[in-house]
């Protein structure tokens, strides 16, 4: 009997890892697109990117998750009903809607991190690359990207813990992660404190893992730098 909810916690944790992986990839995509748009010469792109970051950094995460899931469900249902009036309800799977919502939120923060990192690269580096006759794409891939990675890492580490923590919100749209498991297990055991403490413990393990991995990556990324002092 008791092993049933222990197993659910394991599956719920695995689900967090899956949401995290998908959301992290999308976050980097939105962040890079956002940063490029903010640094572009086109005012419209800059405008769109500014609206994106201020909206997603100023709206509660919970609200974004709700808008994306229920909004998309309404739209999809309406579209499908045009073709087949018998359909009652269609939605984007909560997993994908949730991962998308989290990535859009954290991507807005990542935009600023990536922009800061790109601006932090010594201008002499890109000038040198241009003098050598590298194309714009080559400069980005071989000169800018390896160097901005190093500068973006500390910020990106924070964004990764944010993604992990935001997964707790997804129980509200029916993703069966560990906060949801705790709710079910409480009904079974009558021990809400113990159950939610397990959830907190699992999250703390995940965030600790991220913090340590990022610290390792930082030492790796900075290995060519001569230490001052």
């Amino acid at each position: 009997m008791s092993s049933a909810w222990v197993e659910s916690f394991l599956w719920g944790s695995l689900l967090i890892v899956r949401v995290f992986s998908v959301a992290l990839i999308l976050t980097v995509v939105w962040g890079m697109l956002g940063a490029s748009a903010k640094m572009s010469k086109n005012w419209l792109l800059r405008r769109v990117a500014n609206i994106y970051t201020s909206v997603f950094r100023g709206t509660p995460e919970l609200l974004v998750v709700l808008i994306l899931y229920f909004g998309s469900a309404i739209t999809l249902t309406w579209l499908v009903k045009l073709v087949n009036p018998d359909v009652k309800f269609v939605d984007i799977p909560p997993f994908w809607a949730g991962a998308l919502a989290i990535s859009l939120i954290v991507g807005a923060y990542a935009t600023e991190t990536f922009r800061g990192a790109l601006q932090g690269i010594d201008a002499g580096q890109t000038e040198a690359a241009r003098t050598l006759g590298l194309t714009r794409w080559q400069i980005f891939a071989y000169v800018e990207l390896p160097q901005m990675w190093r500068l973006a890492l500390p910020g990106l580490g924070n964004h990764m813990t944010s993604i992990i923590k935001d997964t707790a919100l997804l129980s509200v749209i029916g993703v069966e992660e560990i906060t949801y498991t705790a709710e079910m297990a409480t009904a079974l055991t009558g021990k809400p404190f113990s159950m939610y403490m397990i959830v907190a413990g699992i999250y703390l393990c995940f965030t600790t893992l991220v913090v340590f991995s990022v610290a390792r990556l930082e030492t790796r990324a900075n290995r060519y730098l001569v230490k001052s002092r």
């Binding site: 100023g58 709206t59 509660p60 923590k165 906060t179 809400p192 403490m197 999250y203 965030t207 913090v211």
Partner: protein
């Protein structure tokens, strides 16, 4: 259309959201000052608990913290029979406790970073002038640290505002709570939730401008 109609209803939730924000910000900042002082005290018995506090509260989702306090504490019978139960039974106070503890953990880190950011030369100058440790802290470190902490503190205020939306998960009628109730009745998620988002964005805007004015005030001696 529905956005215009639902805005006044949502305004009813604004009062609760702002109440939660102000109360938690005040207690959270006090907690943060205390924790930051413990961290820089140089005494390991004080620094370590403060570190653990920041680490745990920044490393776990606020929603889970809120659930532990609101749902979890009822597990203990001795607590249910104690004098503090009338407070811990109230969703409002549970929300304030969770938000304050969370805000305190982040403020502690912000303040610690700001205190460390104060130029070492200023300390030396203060010592050369014969100021005591306490005088140096009060008249040199504090004003400069406040200035350095302001931008991050503004972000923390916005983070706390966004955190208040979680109280709708323990059945409170804040902005998000009201919006969710209306959506359950009308089933118009776009209009209502976007109206709620606009309200949050307006509050965020006010906070950002307030912080900018405060920055101008504190930076008035700095040459451009």
């Amino acid at each position: 259309m529905l956005i215009a109609v639902s805005l006044p209803k949502i305004a009813g939730g604004v009062v609760l959201t702002l109440k939660l924000l102000v109360v938690s910000l005040l207690t959270g900042t006090l907690l943060g000052i205390g924790a930051a002082l413990m961290r820089i005290s140089g005494n390991r018995l004080l620094a370590w608990p403060s570190f653990a506090y920041s680490y745990v509260f920044r490393g776990t989702p606020m929603l889970v913290q809120l659930f532990i306090i609101y749902y979890g504490l009822s597990q203990f019978e001795w607590l249910r029979n104690s004098m503090v139960w009338p407070i811990l039974r109230e969703p409002f106070w549970c929300a304030v406790i969770a938000l304050s503890l969370n805000c305190g953990a982040y403020s502690a880190e912000i303040l610690r970073a700001a205190i460390r950011g104060v130029d070492q030369g200023l300390h030396e100058a203060g010592r050369a002038l014969g100021l005591t440790t306490r005088q140096r802290f009060l008249f040199i470190t504090t004003p400069i640290a406040v200035r350095l902490a302001l931008p991050a503190y503004g972000n923390e205020m916005i983070g706390l505002l966004k955190g208040t939306a979680l109280v709708s998960m323990i059945a409170m009628n804040d902005i998000t709570g009201v919006a969710r109730t209306i959506v359950a009745k009308t089933f118009a998620p776009y209009e209502i939730f976007i109206a709620a988002a606009i309200v949050y964005l307006s509050i965020t805007w006010v906070i950002q401008h307030g912080i900018r004015l405060a920055e101008l005030h504190f930076n008035r001696y700095i040459k451009k």
